[in-house]
Symmetry: C2
Subunit: 228 residues, 2 copies
DNA sequence: TTCAATAATACTGTATGCAGCATTTAGCGC
DNA sequence: GCGCTAAATGCTGCATACAGTATTATTGAA
């Protein structure tokens, strides 16, 4: 549930963080699944993966259990773990749920956010726009997600941020597929601009509406590339 | 994330289910935490607990990682796992989130539920009322939760049910504390009656309002017994 | 040639053992 | 008697080894 990425702070002289092996493995496996190196339906062979990562089976198994609880893999008795396959309905359900969460967050954020907080989001937005113009798609995606997570964080509700994070992670792999055309991309960017404006105006209903529409677009983008 | 309780079906001649050991341990530990046999802040000693449950450390460790992802325990590097302590704000956040989830579910449920579905909920409700009159508090609680889970299930969104289930589990321990007086209990029962009526009338806004108020009451009940 | 039954293989599930870190306690100096 | 240092203990983190189960291959007969 709680994200594991305990990235060491960028400062020098910061305390040396000794990340437990199973944590590191969780991160690696997550990335491998998200980036498609472990395709959906793939059975995870403990010996193989363990050898590839240079770790023993015990911490690897612990990591797998963690990911199972996160919903990225399924545990089949006596047959190990398989990378979860998401059908169209499941993805749609998750997007519906994310919408609900973000809209809840929007209301709270408009009540709670300081100008400073919103400035932080605005800054992410500006950097994202820069990536849009320079065509840096990867970085664009990352900032995009950071903005959404940021808005959720403004609601100041740890449980909410947790859940949202898990869902985002599950969908990351899917979003990799959704390569939108330039015109849709442009409209998405425009929507983001509106989002920030609504947030700065503390206009919760408007922000809510935009977020909702934004996610509907996301669904439109990915729905045709899905199985079942 | 996904509940592990793979209870064997009550039929005879049903396939014999061999539950993996780590699954069984997850359930046991969850119960121990919920029922307070493992108090918040307690460090989980692998050797000790393993001996007590009669299992070896490996599956136990796997179970702990699973519960960590569920948010019931914290993993402290080189110091093992400690049972998570929830402060007042965290509990309030979780209840706010549950409210948001249930209200989202309510809207969907009113759109989707068949008469048959609603009949199922009504039946649970009637059994709960029976427990209320007979004073069987434990069974009352269980049916109460089953009803809420049931309404969420009517929204036909697996991800939603998952999240709701996890939050319910986290709060179970807290709810154990909230021993309401008879008059509050009576009003809670009355609200439940209204809930079912609203559901049968497919009156989503009303159902939503009742659920919201219901959870506010729940918060009122528990908030004074919390640390921090 | 095809299907079935049996044996072999490979992988998961569980237990045990060892090394390193944290904490506590005992000993020593002041 | 009090504080500091150091050894000792206990626990976690990781690896390895063994047992049981599912799957595949092989051999036999129809």
């Amino acid at each position: 549930m709680t994200p594991v990425n305990a990235q060491p702070s960028p400062e020098h002289s910061a305390r040396i963080e000794r990340q437990p092996l199973h944590d590191a493995i969780v991160s690696r496996l997550r990335d491998m699944i998200i980036e498609g190196h472990l395709a959906p339906g793939t059975r995870i062979n403990e010996g193989q993966i363990g050898a590839a990562l240079g770790v023993s089976r015990t911490p690897l198994r612990e990591a797998i259990k963690y990911l199972a609880s996160e919903g990225l893999v399924d545990l089949v008795p006596s047959r190990g773990a398989v990378v979860k396959t998401f059908g169209a309905k499941e993805v749609r359900d998750m997007i519906d749920l994310i919408r609900s969460l973000e809209q809840f967050a929007a209301t709270r954020a408009c009540e709670l956010a300081t100008n400073n907080d919103i400035g932080g989001i605005r800054e992410l937005h500006d950097r994202m726009i820069a990536c849009y113009h320079s065509g840096d798609r990867m970085q664009y995606y990352k900032l995009n997600q950071a903005i959404h997570s940021g808005i959720v964080a403004l609601a100041d509700n740890a449980a909410l941020s947790d859940m949202h994070g898990v869902l985002q992670t599950r969908l990351k792999r899917i979003r990799f597929i959704g390569h939108e055309g330039p015109e849709k991309w442009a409209s998405a960017v425009a929507e983001h601009e509106e989002m920030i404006a609504a947030l700065e105006a503390r206009d919760a209903p408007r922000l809510s509406a935009i977020l909702g529409h934004h996610l509907t677009l996301a669904w439109e983008r990915v729905k045709d590339g899905l199985p079942a």
